[in-house]
């Protein structure tokens, strides 16, 4: 079972990850090649470009992209580069208009991609095919219930196959709205000086809550040990689910929410029970979940719904973006609660996330010793029949998929390896 990067030994209840995976630029190069160039990556949400003419620019998988809605209302994704000589056609974070115009030589493109005009077009010969110089899309673009994904791999599996068991969990989030879930204005954009995979682990790590967030989480632990489980959703995705005592704006009232909100929340719960039945509605309303969609999308459906995506810049640096998702029809008071709920815990100015960042950066500093202390241990709960959320099954799910893609590409050794230290 052993491979150079991972020791996965169920008989000895041992799962270890080689710390070289966290520090080596060669490993990152293979990750870019085998993961970020090959699988589906989350780009953005349809609600961020709600109207025809809306556009935004964003870098995903290392590529500058434009996400927009064209005149016909269709969602479009373009490589953010002029087909003439390469300058970006969109230099704003977001905007609204009929054209994306490259300022360099003023080539102008419709949001549908068509090259609409270029100065002195007559200087090009009769054989010049202007239509062939439309904006170019990534090889694959697809949407699942408002979530827009791209892939730079023309032969990638269909998005739904990739999402596997995670699709149902997206349904549980999206169905919380009677109309649409929308991304609220405002993006938290930050960075962490640590390997991107450390944030994967941290985002679905129930074990660290009792130590890292002791001040915040004391009251939570009992709840987390009951009715909590981790589930492998296939193709590297995983979820942890648990009942937490915090309020959930989708239909679970608790202090410190104002008493006046008790009624609208109960009403919304009743609607969801009517629509989906007690069992599914109960799951939607009462259960908190942290969902990992491989490789780098986290959806936390907890005291608010957060969407977080991140990508590596260097082995020891990642960029992170986080948004908040809410039912479009929710009333203003509940919206406000949801926003404040988010901020009490999450985000780079919250009460918890700065400590997570500190923990990840502290790991990365510790990895300076990787040659002498090569292994990290992710064995917790391997002996359990049904691992709980303070176990590490969900991380093993990620690492096993990672290892399939990066650690041992069939017929190919991606990185010449020199494993230091004992297995």
């Amino acid at each position: 079972m052993d491979t150079p990067f991972i020791v996965d030994d169920p008989t000895r209840h041992t799962f270890r990850v080689h710390r070289r995976t966290m520090v080596d630029p060669d490993v990152l190069a293979v990750e870019r090649n085998q993961i970020f160039d090959r699988t589906w990556l989350y780009l953005g949400h349809e609600s961020e470009i709600a109207e025809s003419g809306d556009y935004l620019s964003r870098t995903v998988g290392g590529r500058a992209l434009v996400l927009c809605r064209d005149d016909s209302g269709a969602v479009r994704v373009w490589l953010n580069t002029c087909t003439h000589r390469g300058a970006t056609v969109c230099r704003e974070a977001k905007g609204h208009g009929r054209f994306l115009t490259c300022f360099y030589h003023a080539w102008s493109f419709e949001l549908s991609g068509k090259l609409a005009s270029l100065p002195d077009a007559e200087a090009y010969g009769d054989g010049f095919d202007q239509q062939a110089l439309a904006l170019v899309s990534p090889p694959k673009v697809d949407t699942y219930r408002g979530f827009v994904f791209v892939s730079f791999n023309p032969s990638v599996e269909p998005l739904l196959d990739h999402l596997a068991g995670a699709a149902e969990y997206l349904d549980l989030v999206v169905d919380q709205s009677a109309t649409d879930m929308v991304i609220l204005p405002g993006t938290q954009e930050y960075s962490i000086k640590a390997n991107w995979k450390l944030l994967v682990e941290n985002s679905i790590d129930g074990y660290h809550a009792m130590s890292t967030h002791a001040t915040y989480m004391d009251y939570l632990l009992t709840a987390m040990r009951t009715a909590a489980e981790a589930t492998d959703l296939g193709t590297g995705h995983a979820v942890i689910e648990y009942r937490a005592p915090w309020a959930r704006p989708v239909a679970s009232w608790a202090p410190p929410l104002d008493v006046s909100l008790r009624e609208p929340i109960a009403a919304r719960r009743a609607e969801l029970v009517d629509l989906y039945g007690e069992q599914r509605a109960g799951r939607m309303c009462d259960t908190s979940r942290n969902l990992l969609i491989f490789p780098n999308l986290i959806i936390n459906d907890i005291m608010a719904v957060t969407v977080r995506a991140f990508e590596p810049i260097r082995p020891d640096l990642m960029h992170v973006r986080a948004w908040e998702l809410a039912p479009a029809e929710e009333d203003a008071a509940l919206h406000e609660v949801r926003l404040d709920n988010f901020l009490t815990f999450l985000g780079p100015g919250g009460l918890a996330t700065p400590d997570d960042i500190e923990a990840l950066e502290s790991c990365q500093r510790g990895f300076s010793t990787w040659q002498e202390m090569p292994w990290s241990d992710i064995s917790r709960g391997m002996a359990q029949k049904r691992p709980g959320i303070t176990d590490e099954l969900q991380m093993r799910v990620f690492w096993r998929r990672w290892n399939e893609l990066v650690g041992r590409e069939p017929g190919e050794v991606p990185v010449p390896l020199r494993v230091v230290g004992q297995r």
Partner: protein, 173 residues
């Protein structure tokens, strides 16, 4: 005796400098004593400098209870991002009186309140790294016999992201 109704710019500056010193010296309880019970302390997301906290995602939006929790946390040993503590230096300038923060979703100035704006440059040192936060403060101060008290305090960052600020805001900005 009625509370003063005006604040000279020099007095406003003295107040801001004293506040900056309390924060730089980690006298956070003393700083908290300058805040009213209805304090709002907020930092909009970068990229949304005109955001209103009731309808958009912020980086910080604290009421008194949350702010007290934040201070208690920072003064404990469990605020890991500030343990060991960073050293900070707050440079405050371009102080202007009298511009209402109404556009931030704040109510009109009440009797005995003044609004002010100032530029800040907060530098944070930790782990041999330097993080910088640059932007504009917007205040609503309530004047009392004991001096001005903070009703509203907003730090609007100029940066496009927190990637220049060490990736987070673990101090009171």
């Amino acid at each position: 005796m009625s509370a003063p109704s005006r604040l000279a710019r020099a007095e406003a500056e003295d107040f801001l400098y004293a506040e900056a010193e309390l924060l730089d010296d980690w006298h956070l309880e003393e700083w908290l004593a300058l805040c009213t019970d209805d304090i709002v302390y907020e930092i909009p997301a970068t990229g949304l400098p005109d955001g209103v906290a009731s309808s958009s995602l912020f980086l910080v939006h604290d009421d008194r209870f949350m702010l007290e929790s934040r201070v208690k946390r920072l003064l404990s040993r469990n605020a890991h991002a500030e343990n060991p503590r960073s050293r900070t230096r707050r440079l405050i300038s371009n102080v202007r009186l009298g511009e209402s923060p109404r556009s931030n979703g704040q109510p009109d100035l009440a009797e005995g309140e003044v609004a002010l704006r100032a530029s800040f440059h907060v530098v944070r040192f930790r782990d041999d790294e330097m993080h910088q936060y640059v932007g504009t403060y917007t205040y609503r101060l309530r004047l009392s016999d004991d001096g001005p008290r903070i009703v509203y305090r907003r730090a609007t960052l100029d940066a496009d992201s927190l990637r220049h600020g060490g990736g987070k805001i673990s101090i009171l900005l």
